[in-house]
């Protein structure tokens, strides 16, 4: 077989089981593709030795007929996941040289399933960003280009390296994490599929924390079926994460029937944003029509507090980040600034954090510090948490009225050029998460899938939002939509 790296998880799994290829062959195809793709800056720590060792072990397992779903399938791991003996630095300078002594639960579960780790993937520093431009490794670059010119484009963020790697066929799939849209927005920008499961579905243990009440891991894949396969392997209760749910994990793939007759799909009026490109409105309308044609009932719904989701997020997420990132103090791990004679412990903290954190991380830590500080806690932090309750209630109301899933655009635009937003104020970048952030605040599952190309040939995505713990039903609706859109476009190879 040729171009093994271009396979998806399900095709490769089936080929392995039929003995048409081996994990070592699949892995070598990916490693070759990775080595030719340095221009994308997606893989920032390559682990070919580990990959080939695991691939050989997977082949042995497959030979014995004892093969879990992910057995032998080469994947990339976002740098936010701690991986034992392999550099894991959340794309931050402050964690230069950090090599964990332990493995995150999610990456361990993937390894136990037989998945092959190819290396660590680029991202925004501490997952704070929407364009992968805040990374200490430099920008990840999208494999996509506009049809008329060659400006390097963002793959989105924060899981930009994951999205670029999957879109460019450097791996069969990748892990991502999503605090405000960091799986779904890059998936939409790169024509890939990304699902953020219900809060508590995947263990957060060993994943570098950004905003603990919002962070969730999820898969980034080439198809909805692949997302179902990989999500199942990543999910499940973990005693080491007290917020992980002690619920059975269904066989998500078995739920992909494509039959959505009688399902009620909500179209939220508040997501018709002022100034949204006509192409996005059109894509959304087409997606709605496809679901209707597949037998779903379309209903107009209202999520009245949508407008306040981003401001609430930009209180809650920085507040939690300021607390979580207090651990980077130059004492236990990572970098310590060089000190001058007479510098005490306070100077050590201040210099270490000033040198180790990038501008966006500093900004968010300080905003978080401010909103939690004496005199402002009630006015900002508690008010934001009250608004968060109202945002969740909006969703509960529509689900109580019988809505099964909600269809929205995934992003307010297609991917933009790297550097194009550098002169904008921080809030302009925050607005990119306008359609995705509500889902994190409400703890719901959300999936982004490609639905078309814009006039410049760039992918555009739609998002489906589901009921809590019903990722299986959500994936099935996404599967039906995927069959209707028939999206197959791939970026032309220039790298």
């Amino acid at each position: 077989m040729s171009d093994l790296n271009k396979l998806g998880l399900s095709e490769a799994r089936d080929a392995l089981r039929k003995g048409e290829t081996t994990s070592v062959e699949l892995t070598q195809a990916c490693l070759t593709a990775i080595d030719k793709a340095d221009a994308l800056n997606a893989f920032v720590h390559k682990t070919p030795e580990i990959a080939l060792e695991r691939a050989a072990a997977a082949d042995a397992r497959l030979k014995h007929g004892e093969a879990p779903a992910m057995c032998g399938l080469p994947v990339g791991i976002k740098d936010l996941f701690c991986t034992k003996g392999v550099a894991s630095q959340a794309a931050s300078k402050i964690l230069d040289g950090f090599v964990p002594e332990y493995e995150s639960t999610v990456s361990q579960q993937l390894a136990d399933n037989g998945a092959v780790m190819l290396g660590k993937l680029n991202m925004d520093e501490f997952a704070m960003g929407s364009s992968n431009e805040t990374s200490t490794y430099g920008n990840a670059v999208s494999p996509w280009r506009r049809s008329t010119e060659a400006t390097p484009l963002t793959p989105g963020g924060s899981s930009g390296g994951s999205a670029a790697a999957v879109a460019a066929d450097l791996c069969l799939a990748a892990t991502g994490t999503d605090t405000g849209g960091s799986i779904r927005q890059p998936a939409a920008f790169t024509g890939t599929v990304g699902i953020k499961p219900t809060y508590g579905r995947c263990s957060r243990w060993g994943v570098v924390a950004f905003a603990s009440s919002l962070d969730q891991a999820g898969p980034m894949t080439k198809s909805v079926r692949d997302a179902a396969i990989m999500l199942e392997a990543m999910s499940g209760h973990d005693p080491k994460d007290s917020t992980s749910a002690d619920l059975a994990v269904p066989n998500f793939e078995a739920m992909l029937t494509g039959d959505i007759r009688g399902k009620k799909i909500g179209i939220p009026k508040e997501y018709h944003m002022e100034g949204m490109p006509a192409e996005i409105e059109k894509l959304w309308a087409e997606g709605t029509a496809m679901l209707k044609a597949a037998g779903a009932e379309i209903v107009d719904i209202s999520l009245p507090h949508t407008k306040y989701a981003l401001p609430a997020y930009y209180v809650i997420a920085p507040a939690e980040a300021s607390s979580n990132l207090a651990r980077y103090d130059g004492v236990r791990y990572g970098n310590r600034a060089t000190l001058e004679a007479g510098d005490g412990i306070t100077e050590m903290y201040e210099k270490t954090r000033a040198q180790g954190f990038g501008d966006e991380v500093k900004r968010r830590v300080m905003v978080g510090t401010y909103v939690l500080s004496a005199g402002f806690y009630d006015a900002y932090y508690n008010r934001a948490r009250r608004v968060r309750s109202l945002i969740k209630k909006d969703f509960e109301n529509v689900f109580a009225a019988g809505v099964d899933a909600i269809l929205t655009p995934a992003t307010p635009s297609a991917a933009f050029g790297l550097g194009e937003m550098s002169d904008a104020d921080p809030v302009a970048m925050y607005l990119l998460d306008v359609f995705t952030v509500t889902v994190n605040l409400a703890g719901l599952p959300g999936i982004a899938l490609p639905a078309g190309l814009d006039s410049q040939g760039l992918p555009l995505g739609l998002q489906l939002i589901g009921r809590p713990w019903e990722e299986g039903d959500l994936l099935n609706t996404a599967y039906a939509l995927e069959q209707s859109t028939g999206f197959v476009a791939k970026p032309g190879k220039w790298w």
Binding site: V99, G200, P239, R336, E350, T369, R383, V387, L390
Partner: protein
């Protein structure tokens, strides 16, 4: 609410991030842009609404109160910038 340079300096101090004096005006301006955006929350009627503590209504699990881990001093210290004699080392804290 407007943040001046003194407040920006105070916040940087609380966050233990060194900010040079000449960078304070730009930092204060950025804070103000972000806070202006956040101010929208004041439009929302939150009377009688409880602040969210957990997005999924669940009681946190408790484990049995017993020692189940430990004895990993080497691993704990392995990534320290300065570890000596089994301890993390820091600049002098007390005179």
């Amino acid at each position: 609410m407007s943040i001046d340079q003194n407040t920006a300096a105070k916040v940087a101090k609380l966050a233990r991030i060194k900010v040079e004096d000449d960078a304070l005006p730009a930092l204060a301006a950025e804070f103000n842009t972000i806070l202006d955006f956040i101010e929208q929350l004041n439009e929302v009627d939150v009377e009688g609404v409880e602040p969210m503590t957990s997005v999924t209504p669940q009681r946190l699990k408790r484990r049995v109160d017993e020692v189940n881990d430990g004895g990993q001093q080497d691993k704990v210290l392995a990534n320290a910038p300065d570890a000596r004699e089994g301890f993390f080392a820091v600049p002098k804290v007390v005179e």
